[in-house]
Each structure stands twice: as C-alpha cells, then as structure tokens.
Subunit: 131 residues, 4 copies
Amino acid sequence: MADHGHAENVTFRQCAHLATPDHVTADFCLIPMGTPTASVSQHIANIQKFLATSGIKYSMHSAGTTLEGSWDEVTKVIGQAHTLLHNQGVVRIQSDIRIGSRTDKVQSIEDKVSVVEKILQDDTAKPATEE
Amino acid sequence: MADHGHAENVTFRQCAHLATPDHVTADFCLIPMGTPTASVSQHIANIQKFLATSGIKYSMHSAGTTLEGSWDEVTKVIGQAHTLLHNQGVVRIQSDIRIGSRTDKVQSIEDKVSVVEKILQDDTAKPATEE
Amino acid sequence: MADHGHAENVTFRQCAHLATPDHVTADFCLIPMGTPTASVSQHIANIQKFLATSGIKYSMHSAGTTLEGSWDEVTKVIGQAHTLLHNQGVVRIQSDIRIGSRTDKVQSIEDKVSVVEKILQDDTAKPATEE
Amino acid sequence: MADHGHAENVTFRQCAHLATPDHVTADFCLIPMGTPTASVSQHIANIQKFLATSGIKYSMHSAGTTLEGSWDEVTKVIGQAHTLLHNQGVVRIQSDIRIGSRTDKVQSIEDKVSVVEKILQDDTAKPATEE
C-alpha cells in the first residue's frame, strides 16, 4: 500500500518533475566560521536586515530564526543569507536548518505555539488528577 | 571593514538579486511523522532510489544522507524527497539539514574526510610526544 | 601552538577526566515517531509541563525549546524528556539539538537576542548611508 | 490513553527521577567559532583522537561523527570534546546533535544502514513494475 511507502508504487521516472512543498516552516541557525572574533551578533543583525527587505515571514529567537513560506522561498532566502555574509568577507558558513512540511493542514508559526499553550492552559484549569 | 560585517557596507536594495552559493555540501536527516510504525527504513530506501535517479552526488550513512552540488540543487532535491513521501501517504515530515558553503576553496565530501584522516595518519607516524 | 589546535599539545591520557562545560545554551526540537497521528502538540505540552517542574531555565518557541544551564543539566533534561514520552507509549523519538559553549563570557538566552536587537536599533537611529 | 500522550496520566512529581535512555545513536557536527582560519580539520582530528581513547563506539563521516551508547555516555563525550577544544584555545563552539532513542528494539549504527541496503537490494532483484 502506498501508505506504507512500498517502493513498487513509485514511478521514479516521474521524480524529476516532483514539485517541492508549497508551505513549510523552517528554522535556521547560521554560523560564520573563521571570523576574527567569536562574536557573530553583527552578522546576525545583517541577516535580520536582509530578511526585513526580503518579504519573507520571519521571527528571530535566541537559537535561530524561523521562516514561513514555500520550500523554494525559505531555502532561497537562507542561501542568500550565506551569500550576503560571504560578500562581507566571511569565507565559510555552516547552517543548521530544521524544516517541516505537512499535507493535512497549513500550520503557521503562531499556530504551532498557540496550540501547545492552549493545552497547557486547559490542563491548568482542570482539577489536578496527578498524584 | 567588510571583514567585520558592519552593516553600513551592505546595500540592501540589491539583496533581492543575491545569488545562492554555487557549491555546498549538505547533510539531511528526514523524519516521517504520524506513520503507522516506528520503522522508516522503507521510506529511506525510497528516497535513496529517488536520489539515484536525480543525478545529484549523494552518500548515505546511518544518521542521514550527504549531498554535494549547488545550493539550489541540493535544497530542491531534499524538497522533492518530502513530496515523494507525501505522495506515498506520509502526512508530515521534518528534516534536519546541515549545509555549508565556503569561498576559499571547493571542498568535496571526500576531501573533508581525507584531510582529517591524513592528519591522523601523520600523527601516528610521528614519535609520540604526549605524556 | 595551542591556538591552532595542534595535537601534540594534547595529553590524551588525561581526556577521560575532561569536564563538560559549566554553562551552555541549547535548543532542542524533539520529534515523536510512529505515533497514531501527525499531531505532536500534546506530547510537546507534556514536555513543557515536565520542564516547568525540572528547575531548568527554558523558553519554548515554534521550532523548539531553548534551555540554559550546565552541559550536564541541559542534556540530562532532554534525555528525561525522551524517557517521559517513551513512558507514555511513544516507541521512537528523534531530537535535533543545537548546543553552544564559550569561554570568553557567560551569555544568557536573553543576551543573545538583545545584543542583535541593540545593533538593529542603533542602525535605525543612524542616518542611512546605503544606496 | 497513554498512547496519545494525555497529560493526565503523567505524575510530574516523579519526573525528577526519570532516567535517561539506555541506548541511543547520536550524530554530532561540532563547529569551532572565532578561529584564525576557516579550516577546522586539525580540530576534528583532535576530537577523533580523543574519541579513540574514550572507549565509545564512533564513526566519522564527512558531515559529522556518529556515536552509539547510553544517553549519558554519548552526551558526556560530546561535552568533553567541547572542553578539549576550549582547552586548546577555541573560545566558542557550536554543535548540532541528532539523537534518537527507541523502546521497540536496540538498533546499532550498522543495523540502520544495512536494513535500508537490504530493501534496495531486494527491490533490484525483483522484476521492475515501475512504468
């Protein structure tokens, strides 16, 4: 069954034409390497400024920056962030990217947090049953 | 100085035209979610078959699959792997991607390992100076 | 020179006694696998409740949860989160962890964000020099 | 039901006593920051030498090093690798760790690869049904 991912149902000749996902959330942590100091805040600030002009939906936190858009949009923007810093003299850059797609619903960055917070609030409102 | 990443040297109007890096190495670990069992080997095998037809340079190991090519090529292929499994019934997929670019040289997957192994061999050949 | 990491300066006999770093920031994204549905919000909520009782400093965002403490504390807590969900019936769990340590200063989760925001504010306050 | 992770089944008072998993596979990519050059091969070689003396099961590849052992063992060794490089003068280090645990079986690093390769071989042996 296709549900179990059995290979015999896959027509690999058609794979070259596979589209990438329409909607993803991604989170990236970009690390400049071989820089004169261990501080990377100026580089991160430059990327935030770039993101502000890019039109992509983004949100910075202490361990990375979260993006929302199509697969192609978010991966392009991260690649451009690499080039931006390379153009400023950073010779080597390594990024860690967490990227997720789903077909059952479109879930925004905000939805992902609010659904967990809702559960936590509902639990608090309930009489405790734990021992 | 550009080396320190000062923002005043960046012309952000031009950022929309930034290219993505020509050559990267990337390593991805793709995780199907909400699948009937905890086993994902069939899904991983399907992706390997897809990669074999894709023309991209790739190498599987126990914790992921390493790719080499342009930024656009490697990120597209990983996105297509998501779509491949979605088309086979996997409703949610999360990938962790490590991706690196550098401007000082073109370093292949093989180079990265061999340069470390060379150092280890040279150290072994030397008389030990450790206490 | 030690600065260049030359191996001849390392006394590997002593490595078994190496301590782990005193202070780190870590960010983890935990993924339950083989669960009946693609939704993991209840699992994430359970982990948040556990973290609240653990005494560790933590902060949830849409792509993971950030922790601050010693290396041993933060890695232990993430491991306990695995066990917590295993005990609730999740047979397989994969986490992605970003973890950083530095010896030049103690930098909190809040510091990492505020230093970037400070740069962005200062840039905004300056007369624009970009073309 | 416990299977669905409902919080009401969790006794959080007991969480402080939760053990970490007995057996995990982990893969880490360690990045020295603020180093004089973009090359990190000497640092990686030093870590390989340390791992060789540590007694942990490990395997290097071009995008990281895979470890197998208990949660506590593998996370301790990675933390010690941070300290090793800090002691050699690296002021800042960021690692990306993929770590997985499962309760249905003990799966070694080698098993994870061989089960996928077995599927690929079996598929090749079968008459092709793809169009």
